[in-house]
């Protein structure tokens, strides 16, 4: 007889494009096996996209995920432009870059805040989210909405950044940089956070390659891939910035990669605002044509991939969407087995599957399995462990 105990988590923590239902099998405190069931957020967007025009689709794919809501339109319009084989105006490229990297800042801050909440540092949670607000204000100034910006269209962008706004935006960016660097130092120098996160949930480099993980998860394991550098697009090759790569692959490194990336993003945005040339923002494309196209974009969580097959009509014949979490989530099996149950919530969260509020990890699966711990209790366990470390 197997002496394992089953601990289900979810499915109700659906703050991600792929909400998950985790099952952990534990022996004592140690996790021996894990399974995941997704599909709670499946809305059939790939099929829906076939019934909408190229002009409507950016709005549809924007609503795949609220946190990285530029990533999908970005990849989609690049795929459509790849089919048509056109170049977009330079100013539009710069505006796209600015939007793409503003989003990276707000998304990474969001993750840091939630990770802080998971380990019982609610100060980090409140701080990170407080400093995320100015970024949303910048978004509101540029696009008119805090989220779901609706900036992208095939052939360019929908709204221009007024030259008269640029000084104010630069000032706002300076503020953001100040907060980000303070937060980065505060988190990375904290001995308790170091003790809590180092050496936990390690994803080895070879596993990262085998599972083809992308984004910060790959870079934290020493795989130096970044679509912005490897497959240059938009204005990323005209700007000076660095890829952040660390070697160990544990949770501390994943946090470090994300925090340091916010500072790189600040650099990118500042240069873009300064270098942006004048000119049109839209190539005014009449039709996409026939053929196939691939669009990639480095979202905060990694490479977003869109494939379009066009048949000459105004609707795509096939539209394939792959979000970064689709590649990153399977890696949890490698990272979580052998760890203690107190770290489970943190490790599954470390790949940043857009997990958000821990409250929503409570179990609502009716009566099928005996519930031993809810997500909330798991977080509590995790927080208690931090408390214990503090006392030492």
């Amino acid at each position: 007889m197997r002496k394992e105990t089953l601990i289900p988590i979810g499915p109700y923590h659906p703050l991600l494009e792929e909400p998950e239902f985790f099952k952990f099998y534990v022996e004592g405190e140690k996790i021996v096996d894990a399974e995941v069931r997704i599909g709670y957020n499946h809305r059939g967007i790939e099929k829906l996209a076939e019934s909408k025009t190229y002009d409507q689709d950016p709005f549809l794919v924007e609503r795949i995920c609220g946190i990285c809501s530029t990533s999908h339109p970005f990849a989609f319009v690049r795929a459509a432009e790849d089919v048509a084989g056109i170049q977009i105006p330079e100013r539009a490229e710069y505006i796209r870059t600015i939007i793409g990297d503003l989003e990276r800042i707000h998304s990474h801050l969001l993750w840091v805040g939630l990770a802080g909440h998971f380990i019982g540092y609610n100060t980090v949670f409140m701080w990170a989210w407080k400093y995320r607000e100015p970024v949303l204000d910048i978004f509101e100034a540029i696009s008119g909405n805090r989220n779901h910006y609706g900036m992208f269209k095939v052939g360019g962008v929908r709204r221009d950044i007024k030259d008269s706004d640029i000084p104010a935006l630069l000032k706002a960016i300076d503020e953001v940089e100040k907060f980000c660097s303070m937060l980065t130092k505060a988190v990375m120098d904290d001995p308790v956070i170091q003790a809590r996160l180092k050496g936990i949930g390690i994803l080895k480099k070879q596993d990262a390659i085998d599972l083809s993980v992308v984004g910060p998860v790959a870079r934290a394991s020493g795989v130096a891939i970044d679509v912005r550098k490897d497959h240059p697009y938009a204005a990323y090759d005209r700007i000076d910035w660095n890829i952040i790569v660390t070697e160990s692959g544990d949770i501390f490194d994943k946090a470090a990669v994300r925090l340091l990336e916010t500072l790189e993003s600040v650099k990118i945005i500042r240069q873009c605002l300064k270098q942006m040339p004048k000119g049109p923002i839209d190539a005014d494309i009449r039709e996409v044509g026939v053929g196939e196209g691939i669009g990639q974009h480095e979202a905060p969580r990694g490479e977003v991939f869109h494939y379009i097959r066009a048949n000459g009509t105004n609707f795509p014949e096939r539209h394939k969407i792959r979000a970064p979490s689709f590649m990153n989530v399977p890696s949890f099996k490698k990272t979580v087995i052998g760890e203690s149950i107190a770290d489970a919530a943190l490790i599954t969260a470390a790949v940043d599957p857009c997990y958000c509020c821990t409250e929503r990890m409570a179990v609502v699966e009716p009566g099928t399995e005996k519930v031993l711990l809810t997500g909330e209790e798991l977080v509590k366990l995790s927080q208690q462990k931090t408390e214990g470390l503090k006392k030492r």
Binding site: G39, E46, I209, D210, D230, Y307, R322, P330
Partner: protein, 152 residues
């Protein structure tokens, strides 16, 4: 030696290479050779498996394996046709663990059977989804809607 030459030298006339642009290359290959080719790309040439796409076409389901060569700024797509009505394809998940989830997805969306796959349970669709209904095949829902309209 560049990647395309290496592939050409090894597979000679078994493959058809179509260069759409310097960054986008499509390779058409028969089902029997696909496994060897993808394995060569992933294991020997160090490609990153980006994702696979299924497309419903008249003779069968086309599967596109998108392999990214990050160091060379190249997106290489391997095109395989899985003919109807058998719709069987060997799994690649044994040498390429990254393919496990997408093969499950293609299985439930298009009904392609991946021979040798460890776990072909539903991934995205609800538990009570009717068997034999494949949402991403052409005509699955169009015909349903037409039927409803006819009845009303």
């Amino acid at each position: 030696m560049n990647i395309l030459e290496q592939i050409r030298n090894r597979f000679v006339d078994k493959i058809g290479i179509m260069e759409k642009s310097a960054k986008r290359v499509y390779i058409a290959v028969e089902k029997e050779e696909a496994r060897e080719l993808v394995c060569y790309l992933f294991r020997d040439l160090g490609a990153r498996f980006s994702i696979a796409t299924g497309v419903d076409t008249r003779p069968g389901i086309e599967i596109l394996y998108h392999m990214a060569f990050d160091a060379n700024d190249l997106m290489l797509t391997v095109r395989v046709l899985v003919r109807k009505p058998e719709l069987e394809m060997p799994t690649f998940s044994d040498f390429m663990p990254a393919a496990e989830w997408i093969e499950r997805e293609i299985h439930e969306m298009f009904g392609v059977k991946f021979i040798g796959h460890p776990n072909l349970q539903t991934l995205l669709l609800p538990d009570d989804w009717p068997e034999g209904v494949y949402p991403l095949r052409k005509g699955t829902f169009e015909s349903e809607k037409e039927n409803e309209e006819r009845e009303n």
